[in-house]
Subunit: 305 residues, 2 copies
């Protein structure tokens, strides 16, 4: 599959129906994953809060992990060093071990596992990795999935808007800064990482309201102000929308607003994710870099092994 086919595959992934069938009680949930796999832990952490849920992108597990913990390892390859390290630790604490992976060592270490299709870039398998978590903890109605499918399909057919943004970034050598807000802070982080891996550009992120307590000062008074291009997502939270408006007013900055056609959680989530897929893919083409190339990351893994 070439890279654009991987992007077009996303709309099929949201139909993935696998879920964990858990016939026991548990007190808390820990999700361990890195990079393009770890992001799904960040997404679910913002959305599902009925039990304490902690997403970790690191070596090491919290002290509280015990036999009442649901410990979920997510690694597309199944061989991510940090995630395997943590799964082994969690097993020693007798936690319930769940895994989402396309194979690798992770699948051998889990009590419950969901095997997803292999052959994609890990970051292109975000739907396959996220859906089992949503299906288990916060199921999505079929009608919503159908509408989301149509939304993603229309983006696959025409993404001139995203190409224009990519051109604007390229022509000015802008550094993108994405300013998210709950429950899409993790999506702002996804944008950053897609710029990094697909376009090979720097990108940064922050979120409302926290950024009003720090970044607001340099937005008014920093050097290199003109080198950054800001993105915000439209918000149906009036306090957040007001902060977006007032921040622009008092700093003189003008943010690029990415407006989802709907405020429904799941549709907006995948709209915003897919929007960045195409901006970062187009920017790679314009820069003449290979969006699938992650050779530096692979080289690093070899040297660490």
């Amino acid at each position: 599959m070439n890279f654009v086919d991987e992007l077009k595959n996303l709309k099929e992934q949201i139909k993935f129906k696998e879920k964990f069938n858990l016939d026991f009680d548990y007190d808390n949930i820990v999700i361990s994953g890195m990079g393009g796999s770890g992001i799904v832990g960040d997404i679910i952490q913002e959305h599902y809060t009925k039990k304490p849920l902690i997403a970790i992108g690191d070596y090491g597990i919290p002290d509280f992990v015990n036999e009442n913990t649901l410990f979920i390892g997510i690694s597309y390859s199944g061989n991510t060093e940090e995630t395997l390290n943590n799964i082994i630790m969690a097993r020693e604490r007798n936690a319930h071990i769940l895994a989402i992976t396309s194979g690798g060592k992770l699948s051998d270490l889990a009590d419950y596992k969901i095997i997803i299709p292999s052959g994609l870039q890990p970051r292109s398998a975000i739907g396959y990795m996220l859906m089992p978590l949503l299906n288990t903890f916060a199921p999505v109605q079929d009608s919503v999935i159908d509408e989301t499918y149509n939304l993603l399909e229309s983006m696959d057919k025409s993404h001139d808007e995203m190409r224009k943004i990519a051109l604007k970034i390229y022509e000015n050598s802008y550094i993108p800064v994405i300013l998210g807000a709950k429950p899409y802070k993790s999506v702002a982080y996804r944008w950053k990482t897609q710029f990094n891996e697909n376009s090979k550009t720097f990108a940064f992120y922050n979120y409302f309201p926290e950024l009003n307590h720090n970044d607001t000062m340099p937005l008014k008074k920093a050097y290199r102000k003109d080198e950054y291009l800001y993105f915000v997502f439209n918000s149906d939270n009036p306090r957040i929308q007001k902060r977006i408006d007032v921040t622009q007013e008092i700093t003189g900055e003008s943010f690029n607003v990415v407006s989802s056609p709907t405020e429904e959680y799941f549709q907006k989530l995948f709209y915003l994710i897919h929007y960045a897929d195409y901006v970062t893919y187009e920017l790679a083409l314009i820069r003449n870099v290979d969006p699938t190339d992650v050779s530096t990351i692979e080289e690093l893994k070899r040297k660490l092994a």
Copy 2:
């Protein structure tokens, strides 16, 4: 107190002995705070993991919050909109409400409160806000506090090293990027916010090992590479230190290493915090901006009220 006196006050703050005396059981802990107050929740979240502990810098509280939750509001002024919003929600769920504040509305809403000295910039009161949490959940030995006092005092007397770094940043209009690692990821974020508020410059942060899954690509291939100055903290975790070394080797970047004279948790924590205090203060002086000026943030709060 002028700003440099506020910085020198930090070594006194670590002697602050107040703690919460909790004679009841609880299942989990939620800490709500923003900006210069919220950072102490991030710090304790990395250090204390015996119970699920979630630090939030946002509007809204998790669904799981109930009568078995310790809900801690931290706001130096006691009038932070987001924190008050959350405390009121947590009260409705019958959570145990704890507050750390110098006054304001927050102190009226708490079941248990610790009142800290007023008159400082919130970001200069980090010791007063953090110590009650450490004293309650992870007490520090007096001998360690004494050694930390001496360490901070020696930094107060001589910070030529930090001034040289500030000069280097200024002369090249560098954007600082701080690359932390557990348990000092929150300290990397503290550095970012101190650059923002004290120096009025942009600054960004990320952490090992997560950054090896994304930022590693642009570190090798991005445009504007020469405009960023990277800081890392020395690490006694061999896997992290190896990642720091290999990342520099394969990307050709050279990071500025900030080396704590000790690996003891508490001493290193405050050494790294105070190091940034002086780098960002000196950079403000060199840039001829007032390190205490947060007028844009204040203007924003007025317009939101």
